[in-house]
């Protein structure tokens, strides 16, 4: 199969990010390694204050554009973020081209998920029965509050005061860490990116690489403040080693461990956790007590289906064939105890939304974020929600339509997300559908509503339309620059207006084709 015209250059958009050498790289047998989340070529940024995320004021709609503007105004962060995530997208493409059956795998993954979701109750019951038979305690939580109460109850029953955990977006959704803090239980994140964010008191910005928005110098400052690292040493190997050594005693001393789950297999009562660091396996296998927080939509029928998802997940997320660790939990260890908290928190309601239920297929790979040109330039924290990027735009409004009413407009509807989604969620079409839905619910600014009404009336009246076009052209041709580019002209803030033509097409046609109908 041909691949079209060859790339004429591969310096990326920001050649100034490319250093002349690569002292950070790991080489084996002369080959530079870029497995797991490793970037495929070295990048180097200059220090810069870290831009913070969206300003949250109670339940007021998040102003994503404002936060995005601040991210773009931090050019070192924006460039690094954009180029690093674009690199993950490129790595994903390379993996894709190596798998002849790639599109077939996507179709299978989508079909498996849609079948399972349309029979969700049956598969959950099957999983529960098999898990219980293997000695797993199965709990059900209707919402975030109940999830937190249940976990707290389990910990209390065991006298546990410290908990180590691996990454789980569900626990982010549930506000788990603040709740645990409020009841006096110490929680330590073991994933490097999550731990950085925890120590910095900031939310994760990406579902797979939580601190992707931070430069190494930002991390050095966080570690200097919190784990006693050298503030002037931003060598990444040094920072990672510092965190490994700081966390290790906490892992060994923890009373309990918590993980999420990427997949749940109904047939065998198994849940599967994928990490690159092995931190889920540490969290699960060191303390005696293992609690898993699992969203009810994670379930799939059988092991043969699991193969499809395991082959797609890491390739889509990071452009690496497999995560370093893919761990299958089917029951407690000897002398240990295993609990699973199956959590709804709005999922069953979302299942009933005709246009949006397929968003439940999501396997949290982050491929949509990596490809999204808006996300890469805005940073995940600009969305002010647990889920950011394209998938965030379509599921956040189900959590809070008012607070997240601006998010579906933070998209150019380009459709790249839909094409990279391993489970074929029609993300950009759902973004479009959400816009209609939000307008129906009156969750859009009055100014925009009025402008659209006016546009609708103007554009349906030929004479008025012609007059408006003429006026626009006249304005472009005659207004002095300081008037044309005033604060109200959003178009002209960062780009030039179009050039005024000598005549409109309409006039030309009248003059040259006799205005014939």
């Amino acid at each position: 199969m041909s691949t079209g015209p060859k790339q004429s250059h591969d310096n990326g958009l920001h050649p100034e990010l490319l250093p002349p050498d690569d002292p950070d790289a790991i080489y084996h047998n002369g080959h530079r390694l870029d497995h797991a989340e490793g970037v495929s070529r070295p990048m180097r940024s200059k220090p810069e204050p870290q831009p913070r995320g969206a300003r949250v004021h109670g339940n007021r709609p998040i102003d994503q554009a404002e936060a995005a503007g601040r991210f773009i105004a931090a050019p070192e962060h924006e460039k690094m973020h954009d180029e690093r995530l674009w690199d993950l997208r490129q790595k994903r493409d390379r993996e894709m081209h190596g798998i002849e059956e790639w599109e077939e795998l996507r179709s299978l993954a989508s079909a498996i998920k849609e079948h399972t979701l349309t029979h969700l109750d049956q598969y959950l019951e099957q999983f529960e029965a098999n898990a219980r038979a293997n000695g797993i305690h199965v709990h059900w939580a209707r919402d975030a509050a109940e999830h937190n109460r249940i976990v707290h109850g389990i910990l209390r029953d065991h006298g546990a005061k410290s908990l180590i955990k691996s990454k789980s977006m569900l626990t982010e959704e549930c506000g788990f860490r603040p709740y645990m803090a409020s009841v006096g239980i110490e929680v330590v994140e073991t994933d490097l990116g999550e731990r950085i964010q925890q120590l910095d008191n900031e939310d994760p910005s990406h579902v797979v690489v939580p601190a992707v928005h931070k430069l190494r110098t930002d991390v050095a400052q966080v570690f200097a403040r919190t784990i006693g690292a050298d503030p002037n040493n931003s060598d990444v190997h040094y920072l990672a080693e510092a965190q490994r050594e700081a966390n290790r005693p906490l892992i060994l001393a923890a009373d309990a461990g918590m993980t999420g789950a990427n997949f749940v297999v109904a047939e065998t009562g198994t849940f599967v956790v994928c990490t690159n660091e092995g931190n889920a396996d540490l969290s699960a296998n060191v303390p005696k007590l293992h609690i898993a927080s699992i969203g009810i939509e994670k379930i799939i029928p059988r092991l043969e289906h699991l193969a499809v998802f395991v082959r797609l997940l890491s390739r889509s997320a990071l452009g690496s064939p497999m995560t370093q660790y893919t761990s299958h939990f089917r029951g407690p260890r000897q002398g240990g105890e295993m609990h699973v908290v199956l959590t709804d928190n709005g999922r069953s309601a979302r299942l009933g939304l005709a246009e949006f239920w397929t968003s439940l297929k999501c396997i949290r790979c982050g491929a949509c974020m990596n490809t999204c040109p808006v996300y890469r330039r805005s940073g995940g924290l600009s969305y002010g929600a647990t889920y950011s990027g394209p998938i965030g735009l379509i599921i956040d409004p189900t959590f809070n339509a008012h607070k997240y009413s601006n998010l579906p407009f933070a998209s150019s509807l380009n459709g790249s997300c839909t094409n990279v989604c391993p489970v074929k969620i029609n993300i950009h079409e759902q973004i479009y559908a959400w816009r209609r839905e939000l307008v129906k619910r009156h969750e859009v600014p009055f100014v925009k509503k009025a402008a659209m009404k006016a546009a609708g009336e103007l554009l349906s009246r030929p004479a008025a339309y012609r007059a408006a076009i003429a006026a626009a052209d006249f304005a472009l041709a005659h207004l002095p620059r300081f008037v044309a580019y005033n604060g109200l002209n959003a178009w002209g803030r960062h780009r030039e207006n179009p050039h005024p033509p000598k005549q409109t097409f309409h006039s030309w046609h009248h003059a040259n084709r006799g205005g014939k109908q």
Binding site: M452, S460, R493, P498, W508
Partner: protein, 247 residues
């Protein structure tokens, strides 16, 4: 064939040369090209912002203007995508469905319907960066998007390859969105313009003298960005090149 020519609002207002080139090009192939004079807009600006009810009148006007043509052709991928794939603010009568299914974007019309073999009048000896707008690329399937594992194809490149002297350059991100996105360009203008700056810089670094596209809206946005940051690129619509424009 009797073709109804749809000229979107921003081409009518700012880029009449694109409409002229489209009309002349279709006439070169011997077709009767009619321009209904009461046409305005397809309704896309309102629809894309979720205000579907507000485009009903505009969509109805579109159907009234373009009913009865064998084909309706427009030099705008985003408008045609809206007409064919969304256009549901009005009742879907037989007349509405007819107009919708007969509406084509210029490149797909030339490539799939007219099956153009040659453009003997066309000569454009310049280095050109081809920009496939997201609407034409992913919605109208002008070419293979880089995300998909399917055989390579490109209708605009097939057509442009018949132009004497043309030379293609390839930017680092050939099909990343340029940031126009309709009302996105105004409501999220900081991100929109950053995407535009990146797009034009990418093409310039690849050695392009011209950026050519089937979507003037993208070109308008990219031109505005290039001019603001001083990137010396020229912008031209594919209709103009195919019609024999020299520069």
């Amino acid at each position: 064939m009797r073709i109804g020519l749809f000229i979107p609002c921003y081409i009518d207002a700012f880029f009449p040369e694109v409409g002229i080139a489209t009309l002349e090009l279709l006439e070169r192939f011997g077709h009767e090209v009619v321009y209904p004079r009461d046409q305005t807009c397809c309704g896309q600006p309102m629809a894309n912002s979720g205000f579907n009810a507000d485009c009903a009148a505009t969509e109805a006007l579109f159907v009234r203007n373009f009913s009865g043509f064998e084909y309706v052709v427009a030099p705008s991928g985003s408008c045609v995508h809206h007409v064919r794939d969304n256009f549901d603010a009005i009742e879907q009568t037989a007349e509405v469905t007819e107009v919708r299914t007969r509406t084509f974007e210029l490149v797909e019309f030339l490539h799939d319907i007219l099956k153009i073999e040659a453009l003997p009048w066309a000569r454009f000896p310049h280095r050109v960066g081809l920009h496939n707008s997201c609407g034409t690329l992913r919605a109208l399937k002008h070419a293979r998007p880089s995300e998909l594992h399917v055989p390579f194809f490109s209708k605009p490149m097939d057509l442009l390859s018949k132009v004497d002297g043309i030379e293609f350059v390839t930017p680092a991100r050939p099909d990343e969105c340029c940031g126009f996105g309709g009302t996105f360009s105004v409501f999220e203008e900081v991100v929109s313009t950053k995407m535009g700056y990146d797009k034009v810089s990418d093409h310039a670094r690849a050695g392009a003298e011209y950026i050519v596209s089937a979507d003037t809206s993208c070109l308008m946005h990219q031109q505005g960005c290039a001019e603001r940051i001083g990137v010396p690129l020229k912008f031209i619509h594919i209709a103009q090149i195919l019609n024999g424009a020299s520069a």
